[in-house]
């Protein structure tokens, strides 16, 4: 059932078993797990079915670190940011869960194997092909092409899967509508998690509508699932019994904000014969009616040996060159440079063949555009706090201070070089690297709209906001869902993992609330 909170009488007091705040992928996944159970569930969503500029404006905030748009990187409506996500899916790597002695604050409370079954279920929820993320035999058969045997030991491959992309709001709306025990409150903004006197429980939620109504909702358990920026914001705003905010006894809420830094224009690869790079390495290939493409990433062995963080590279053919028509690159000088390299290395890049295309002897090769994203070290100074300005509900906006470290940069540069070396070692291509190893990040670093880490998970309340079950330390009935609980970010796009974690949390809560 769906109810518009603006249609309820002012000061409606609702009681339920489970309150889930936020109807994005995390909240919707969690709610659906309770469909048909003998429990009443309320899913409380700030937006409606369609985007509304006034609601979206509640996401405005300040960015004081690396430039970051807080309004362009999230959507505040039913379905959350899945209304415009790209659908890239893959799990975190085993090493991402490990404590790495070269990476302060690393280590999840459990290994990746804990999520294995949940990843399989999550793959269904995001509608990707069965999770064959590393299964080379499967993809060799499906793509009908030999895959490459990598040569340097520095890199390995994984197969990124593409969700249609699943718009969680649209895709699962009927399920929520039909579930007799689930009520979705739309246009309902949670403004405060009211605490009990004892400070150990949430007593109720305060809800406000943009039309000026105020409601309350009392539950046996509460799950905050409003995305990694808002999860921190709501905890920081909930100050009934602690001026620092709820669950913030150790000043950790909002700290350790992580993104996946994306550097564009860090390099290009030229290849004389693109057919030497099988299609699935340079474009999406369909199998079982779903798309997948290779991503290159550093091998765990190499990361351990060199004490590096994780990274991911993907590529696609961006243009082809003929000797007398060297212009596919927007910059003519760069195009000439590409052609020079293609001509200079021609024999080495074709195993000695001279003419590539007898119909077109002037054909020189292609250039590949490259995409990358890298892991950033958990950094307590990279953080979300509250700003001095207020939104239309009178709540302090967020201030984001996203920061990167020299360790992140060094790691990234090393992996860029590994990619160039791998292409050389395979005799596939030559890479021009446009990122200097000069101790400075390039002027332009973007995020991937992946917000993580602000309520990190740890068994120790002094180093994490939530425990291994995603329960806020020190609060008996408050849980967090979403990528804010990630202690480290890896480089996998976060949604598959946060959906897996939501499914795991559902199992935990089923036991708790039974």
């Amino acid at each position: 059932m769906f109810i518009d909170a603006r249609t309820l009488p002012n000061r409606t007091a609702i009681e339920t078993d489970l309150a889930i705040i936020g109807a994005g992928p995390a909240g919707i996944t969690l709610a659906r797990e309770f469909a048909g159970r003998n429990l009443s569930v309320h899913l409380i969503e700030s937006g409606g079915f369609e985007g509304d500029p006034d609601v979206q404006a509640l996401y405005e905030g300040e960015s004081t670190g690396i430039e970051y748009s807080l309004i362009g990187n999230r959507l505040r409506q039913f379905g959350g940011s899945s209304n415009h996500w790209g659908g890239y899916c893959r799990p975190l790597d085993e090493i991402d869960f490990e404590r790495r002695d070269w990476l302060p604050f690393s280590g999840w409370p459990f290994p990746r194997s804990e999520l294995a079954g949940y990843y399989d279920q999550a793959a269904e929820r995001v509608e990707i092909a069965p999770g064959k993320f590393t299964d080379e035999t499967y993809w060799r058969e499906k793509s009908g092409e030999q895959l490459l045997s990598l040569a340097t030991g520095r890199l390995e491959i994984q197969f990124v899967h593409y969700s249609p992309p699943t718009r969680f709001g649209q895709r699962y709306r009927d399920d929520l509508e039909r579930a007799g025990n689930i009520t979705t409150l739309l246009n309902a903004n949670v403004t405060n998690l009211a605490g009990q006197q004892n400070g150990r429980d949430v007593k109720h939620l305060d809800i406000a509508t943009l039309t000026g109504l105020r409601h309350t909702l009392k539950a046996r358990a509460y799950v905050l699932a409003t995305g990694a920026v808002e999860n921190a914001r709501i905890l920081l705003l909930s100050r009934d019994h602690n001026s620092r905010g709820l669950g913030n006894a150790h000043d950790l809420v909002g700290r350790f904000f992580m993104e996946h830094p994306h550097v564009s224009g860090f390099g290009e690869i030229v290849m004389t014969d693109k057919s030497r790079l099988p299609r699935i390495y340079r474009e999406r290939v369909k199998a079982d009616n779903r798309g997948a493409q290779v991503a290159f990433k550093p091998s765990a062995k190499f990361m351990r040996e060199k004490k590096l963080l994780n990274a991911t590279f993907q590529m696609g053919v961006a243009g082809a060159y003929r000797a007398e028509n060297a212009r596919p690159h927007g910059d003519p000088q760069r195009a000439a440079d590409h052609v020079d390299m293609l001509q200079a290395s021609r024999r080495l890049l074709t195993d000695g063949a001279t003419v590539l295309d007898s119909d077109d002897p002037s054909y020189s090769g292609v250039w590949l555009g490259l995409g990358s994203s890298c892991e950033q070290a958990p950094n307590p100074d990279s953080r979300v706090t509250l700003s001095g300005t207020k939104d239309a509900l009178g709540l302090q906006r967020v201030r984001l201070d996203w920061r990167l470290t020299e360790q992140d940069r060094r790691s990234y540069v090393a992996h860029v070089r590994s990619l160039a070396q791998e292409f050389g070692a395979l005799g596939l291509g030559r890479m021009k690297i446009d990122i200097e190893d000069d101790g400075k990040w390039p002027r332009r670093v973007d995020g991937g709209s992946h917000h993580m880490g602000t309520t990190r998970m740890s068994d120790d309340p002094r180093s994490g906001v939530v425990d291994r079950n995603c329960r806020v330390h020190g609060i008996d009935n408050l849980y967090v869902a979403g990528s804010s609980v990630f202690p480290t970010s890896g480089t996998a796009n976060p949604t598959l993992t946060l959906v897996a974690l939501a499914l795991r949390l559902a199992d935990h809560l089923k036991g708790k609330l039974a």
Binding site: T152, Q343, A344, R347, E422, G424, L426, G427, I433
Partner: protein, 129 residues
């Protein structure tokens, strides 16, 4: 193979002459005839890499960065050494790939190149006007 061996010997002989000429004239840039298209030594280099003009472009940048390598004999010997004493295409190509595997690379105007490949380009530069 015999023909190739002949070509590379020709190449070396000619390259050494140019070095001598360069040294005698005291020029920083090596004086010497450009390789003519039908030239056997040019054929050897062309057989191993690709277009000599393009290669020379990168070779000049390499030599600017490593001026003490402006010596064709030394360059040639180094290439021959890493290619395990052989200079046929397969051996040189394997040496180039091996450089990438071992991380024996240099940055030439942003291009990450195998050291051996960069030296081949340098030879092309030394042999062009």
């Amino acid at each position: 193979m015999i023909q190739l061996e002949q070509s590379r010997r020709d190449f070396l002989r000619r390259a050494l002459c140019w070095v001598a000429l360069g040294a005698l004239s005291g020029c920083r840039a090596l004086a010497g005839p450009a390789l003519a298209p039908g030239d056997a030594s040019a054929n050897w280099l062309r057989d191993v890499i690709g277009n000599l003009d393009s290669a020379a472009h990168f070779g000049r940048i390499y030599l600017d960065a490593y001026p003490d390598e402006r010596d064709a004999r030394q360059l040639f010997n180094r290439i021959e050494n890493v290619a395990q004493g052989r200079t046929d295409f397969e051996s040189v190509s394997a040496a180039v790939r091996d450089d990438y595997v071992r991380g024996n690379t240099v940055s030439i105007d942003g291009w990450l190149l195998s050291r051996t490949e960069a030296r081949l380009f340098a030879l092309a530069a030394l042999s062009s006007p």
